[in-house]
């Protein structure tokens, strides 16, 4: 019961705030869109917690809300966009077709998922969450164990990727190197 209430609360919150990022009436101003996105990330963090992914929920807040979105906000401040940049939004026939097609594909996906997803084979017994909790599912220790024991190479590659991104961002943004 509690989980369902929370799911609806966070789920509706995530959808509404994500919609505010995208939907025309609300997104004239990228600052408002960015703040709506931060709210959306918070709702997602709540969902992650419902899914027993504590570490990822905290990382979501720390990295997305605390770092990535602050970067967005700072760039918006730095660019100092004029009113024509903030407001202009043209819509073409192609966009409308894309929108309709996207909505169609998603509705098919939702129907398919609603009818078949719960019959997918799964390892753990979903009715026995105590076992998951007892094993420390989603805590630093468990996720760290999986990451550094079985996924060490991808982890190190992530470090290299981030280094490349840092150098790339500096090269791109610097006026004259």
């Amino acid at each position: 019961m509690f989980e369902q209430v929370m799911f609806w609360l966070f789920g509706a919150g995530a959808v509404v705030t994500a919609g505010m990022v995208v939907a025309p009436p609300f997104n004239r101003n990228p600052v408002h869109a960015a703040l709506a996105l931060i709210a959306s990330f918070f709702c997602m963090a709540g969902l992650y917690m419902l899914l027993l992914a504590h570490l990822l929920a905290v990382l979501q807040i720390l990295v997305y809300a605390g770092a990535i979105m602050v970067l967005f906000l700072f760039v918006i401040m730095l660019l100092n966009l004029g009113d024509h940049e903030l407001g202009k939004q043209s819509s073409s026939v192609g966009q409308m077709i894309g929108l309709v097609a996207m909505a169609f594909v998603t509705s098919k996906l939702v129907v398919t998922l609603a009818t078949s997803a719960d019959s997918l084979p799964h390892g753990a017994d979903p009715a026995a969450p105590e076992a998951l909790v007892r094993d420390g599912f989603g805590t630093v220790a468990t996720v760290g164990d999986a990451m550094f024991r079985h996924y060490l190479v991808p982890f190190e590659l992530t470090a290299i990727l981030l280094l490349i991104a840092v150098i790339g961002a500096v090269v791109l943004a610097k006026r004259n190197l």
Binding site: E3, Q4, V22, A34, L51, A53, L162, A169
Partner: protein, 107 residues
Amino acid sequence: MQETLAFTVPLSWYLILAAILFTIGAIGVFTRRNALLVLMSVEIMLNAVNLTFLAFARTRGDSIGHVVTFFVIAVAAAEAAVGLALVMGVFRHTRTVNVDSLRAMRR
């Protein structure tokens, strides 16, 4: 407390929610012309994918989904940094962040 430990939300609900969020993000990428909003929409899509990973991770009871989500967050951070640097570079040259007005390569 015990009742909160029973999983009463089925996997399909999470997957449907993720599908809806992914669609919202995709619509944003397709219809928004402000480069900043396009980047934000990409972040929504990445988050929707994370949600499916974590939902499957809980259903399967293993941590692989968590590890993958961690990588997705790292990639998103890298993408945002480079993407915003690109936006700034573009704005410096053309004084606009509208992706439709960037047609120099088309001529």
